[in-house]
Amino acid sequence: MSIRTITFDAIVVGGGGAGMRASLQMAQSGFKTALISKVFPTRSHTVSAQGGITCAIASADPNDDWRWHMYDTVKGSDYIGDQDAIEYMCSVGPEAVFELDHMGLPFSRTEEGRIYQRPFGGQSKNFGEGGQAARTCAAADRTGHALLHTLYQQNLKNGTQVYSEWYAAELVKDGQGNVCGVIAICIETGETVFFKAKATVFATGGSGRIYASTTNALINTGDGVGMALRAGLPVQDIEMWQFHPTGIAGAGVLVTEGCRGEGGYLINKDGERFMERYAPNAKDLASRDVVARSMMMEILDGRGAGPDGDHVFLKLDHLGEEVLHSRLPGICELAITFAHTDPVKEPIPVVPTCHYMMGGIPTNVHGQAIKLSAGHEGQEQFVNGLFAVGEVACVSVHGANRLGGNSLLDLVVFGRAAGLFIEDALRQGMTQYEPSNDDIDQALSRVRRWDDSQGGESVASLRKELQSTMQNHFGVFRKGDLMHEGVSKLADLRERVAKAHLEDKSQSFNTARVEALELDNLLEVAEATAIAAEGRKESRGAHARYDFPDRDDENWLCHSIYDPLTKQLGKRAVNFEPKTVDTFQPKARTY
């Protein structure tokens, strides 16, 4: 079957912050670039980021140093973040943030006219010795919104060709496994097209929708990870999922860590500020994995609030109406809408909620995707033609636990870095790999499978079952036997999803088809998460096991690599060789 082919120098899949920063870079250089996004770009999930972008711009503290930020990030990662990548992010960060201001991002300001910075969890001065730092650059509590709109505006200005509401369904590879582009579907008309490019950049974001309760948007279905896994490519550290301490109980809606940065704190049903017991120094501004576990322990020990004792409270009223309305206006709105609670008067009911995928497609600092020669082991090789940036990528700057405010920095720094690298590579001449008709047919087979389906279970019911399996078997605390059971449930789900039914086969704006294709991706991410979580036999960062409660540096001071072809888990070395500073050696992690 022949389908229409559209050819570009580079295509970016995903219109969030990382994708738009990459496409902006390339559009500015004059190369023919397309941005393919399943929603209009400003509807991407970056828009929901609230608290800010962490970066040592030395506004709140004139002596601030990116090396201190680097130290915090390495420690936050529980030492499996790659130190060369973290060094790059923290040192290049200020330049990338100042660029955002020059583009027009409406940052909040200090009296000196500089960018306002607030304290966030896991931040310190002087390599953990100088007390709490204030390093998160903010536009009130709508930083992601301000960032995303600014980047979209700049893409408009620079003439990026945007394919809005186009759904990328599959990677197209040639016989040697080189990436040639993607198959994408125009949601409005149903037309299926082959986008051919020398560079394909995945910026598809996270996949929080594998869990029943998540802060993530409904669109966060792991499309990039799903496409990579189906193409036989490995993913790294995919067991590492961040549970944000403060999702609104019941609704899952995010309440920024900036609330605690501004002086809010958590209390249990007795009104006790319990974080003082778990993290005597940093208290409520310990890193997210620590705070989330502490909250769960309060709840499991019977000190949770509400009729079912299933949440704790975030207290903000002592900050006063003026601070709340000027610094946290969005939170006041969300709390009233989703918790029927006015934070000026009463505390917000909160519970740890799935928030961020630390793992993803392994890449270097230029966004080049990496695979191993023998699947889950062997030599490192680049996947020719494929790049990944933002949450879908695992550079890895977050390791086993991301610090608040580092995701926005990650996406602008590495979106920009991939753009710069590809620009340069294109100038020197990049190869366009050519797929055969069979290669394209192969990539189309998944779309056809759904279009030919004649009966079977519904997408909605299978999705629900998948989400509750992940919620119940792979949550904040994990246990070998429970995870083993979860893995079998997912294997069963895989068989059933392969036979599931898409009833509506119409062409115009068929969202049922999109949801069906998304379900395949949710399943891929869920299964990889499950097998990797069962395989990492230690507790580190966000991965906390009852049966292996300690960090095991002897065996697991490394990345996990999940190979989808054999479903085996391998190991990959962490980078401990930053270029301009001394290595930060692993030590016990306390806050």
Partner: protein, 238 residues
């Protein structure tokens, strides 16, 4: 409860119809988007846009019992008395004034075109400093109430002037963003921006009806922004 939804699929339907659904909300005060998700479980063919489900992405603007709003932050009890209790139907239609693609999905091209016309990006002809461009808290405060727009189109599609001239009148959303850059101390293209608005339609078709203000889900006030631009144009004319 009874839910009545505008249905139209260009592949199969000659004309739109209102379809009735019975939804069990278990008496809860759900958001309209939750109700739509329940309907979609029963009838996956229903088309609507949604993303963040918390009122910040602007995907699910629609007409809810006669008033434009975001489905994800409109609770049943706030729609109209009796809707939550099932005494009165929840009636959902696409945003008015734009072509319908399918069901509750409208073609937003005209809306985005008007947005692009205000050149919604910072323009500054002076070389950028090595750090950020300084801006005082007072100067920055002028952007509050402007930059928060989520481009949901609830305002422009509730505006009779926009219905009448969607190609020539920029509409409240675009004008709000137009003023967002006029008000930014870091932007130096004020004269060019004003000159582009100085015609009988782009701005001056606003008749102060203020539907935009009453529907904006973010509580913004495009009419006030339009008033500020009018004043700037007046001062420029003197």
């Amino acid at each position: 409860m009874k839910v009545s939804i505008y249905r139209y699929n260009p592949d199969t339907d000659r004309e739109p119809t209102m379809k009735e659904y019975d939804v069990d909300t278990q008496g809860k005060d759900l958001m309209v988007l939750d109700v739509l998700n329940l309907v979609k479980e029963m009838d996956p063919s229903l088309g609507f846009r949604r993303s963040c489900r918390e009122g910040v992405c602007g995907s699910d603007g629609m007409n809810i019992n006669g008033k434009n709003g975001l489905a994800c932050i409109t609770s049943l009890s706030s729609v109209a008395p009796g809707v939550k209790e099932g005494k009165k139907a929840l009636v959902l239609r696409p945003l008015p004034g734009l072509p319908v693609v399918r069901d509750l999905v409208v073609d937003m091209t005209m809306f985005y075109n008007q947005y692009e016309k205000v050149q919604p990006y910072l323009q500054n002809s002076t070389p950028a400093p090595a750090i950020e461009r300084l801006q005082s808290p007072e100067e920055r405060a002028k952007l509050d109430g402007l930059y928060e727009c989520i481009l949901c189109a609830c305002c422009s599609t509730s505006c009779p002037s926009f219905w009448w001239n969607p190609d020539k009148f920029l509409g409240p959303a675009a004008l709000l963003q137009g003023y967002r850059f006029l008000a930014d101390s870091r932007d130096t293209a004020t004269e060019e921006r004003l000159a582009r608005l100085d015609d009988p339609f782009s701005l001056f078709r606003c008749h102060g009806i203020m539907n935009c203000v009453s529907v904006c889900p973010k509580g913004l006030n495009p009419t006030r922004a339009i008033g500020h631009i009018r004043s700037m144009l007046l001062e420029r004319g003197i």
